[in-house]
């Protein structure tokens, strides 16, 4: 993205809003811009779409560069096309929402997403707060759109499971903390179990693991573990 753009051309980019959940909190993965415009500001990872390149290939390449490899999920979020969203010229961005299990990776920095009233703000790893509007380009708007979409879709899709570090072995408590992080409000454990049973276990999307194979070291009663049934077994 540090190339010169021609003024009489229209460009299409892919921007990735990479979200992850850790310890009951929702994070966005951002990178600091090394070149103008918005040099030094935080931004979503993005890349130009090549003329003969599928958008998915552009995104895959971008994610492979950022994340070391491993499971990830994405879906198209929204296409941002404001005339002046990029001072270099006409750049239309197809923003994607990416859900990854954890963020141990790449040159990206994870910012906690917090909802102050109805506006959201970012908490830097050090602890400093960063208003959403401080991001490069219109990325603050992309962030808001993505979080809103995620919150709206979490309870009638299976997005939440893509945040699990081990989809083959997880407890309902872990899953619940993902829901709580995304919705940013506590969830009743009793209703949550009933919901998971009826919506995911009975349809055969997840299944309980053998009770003997589990060993969740921690305080309190050990949790029963579940696994996501792979698509080819369903």
């Amino acid at each position: 993205m540090h190339l010169e753009l021609e003024r009489d051309r229209l460009y299409v980019t892919v921007d990735a809003l990479i979200l992850t959940v850790r310890e009951g909190r929702l994070y966005a993965l951002l990178s600091r811009r090394k070149n103008p415009p918005f040099q030094g500001r935080w931004a979503l990872p993005g890349r130009l779409v090549g003329l003969d390149e599928p958008v998915e290939a552009t995104l895959d390449g971008l994610l492979a560069e950022m994340m070391p490899e491993g499971p990830r999920f994405y879906e198209q979020l929204y296409t941002f096309s404001d005339l002046n969203r990029d001072p270099r010229g006409r750049v239309i961005s197809i923003a994607h929402l990416v859900a990854v299990p954890e963020a141990p990776s790449g040159g990206l920095t994870s910012f906690e997403i917090r909802l102050e009233g109805d506006a959201l703000s970012l908490i830097a790893p050090g602890g400093g707060s960063l208003p959403g509007g401080e991001l490069a380009f219109d990325h603050g708007g992309i962030l808001a759109t993505g979080v809103q979409r995620l919150r709206g879709k979490i309870d009638y899709t299976d997005i939440a499971f893509h945040f699990l570090t081990r989809p083959d072995c997880f407890s309902l408590g872990q899953l619940q903390s993902i829901f709580e992080a995304v919705l940013s409000c506590p969830v009743d454990p009793s209703n949550f179990r009933r919901m998971v049973k009826s919506r995911y276990e009975e349809p055969g999307f997840i299944a309980p693991l053998d009770a003997s194979t589990v060993s969740p070291r921690g305080r309190g009663r050990p949790a029963a573990m579940y696994r996501v049934i792979p698509k080819n077994e369903r």
Copy 2:
């Protein structure tokens, strides 16, 4: 769209999936292509996005050409970017979902949308059936995506009201027939009224009209009329 496209450039277009409801049935408005590619096939109205033109301006211009003027509603649907979706070159289309009150207009032809099982087919005005896959480009996929989106959003948004010919004077029966057309299944009148009351009337989105000012000539008991409260009065 009958211009020559340069091979080494990337183009962005806007396609409009214009939907309308008439007599309890859902219609899509299509135009027959006069030029290659896909000459003679039915297609969604579309237009190239100019270099210095906001996408909304492109869409407004397209709709102004197609519809004589009047209320319309649109929202971005999805961006289609397959490499070979347009044989002339790399053309990425930002598809939009448009809801209009009726279709008395333009050079467009209205096809009834029917759901055969889970695939949908189009019924020409003459009565002939047209599989969704017979449309030009990937417009069959755009149609399917749009209908699915509309069905998913109709009962937690106010899209349905944009299909009303007279938002300032409508009956609950008319509104119900819009829901039935979109969902393509009958709706219980009793529950429908309760839903409308709690979701739209009590929040002040619609209000009953004075009983004396109504005169719905027809068989059966005259219906109470309602109006959508304009945004500046809410």
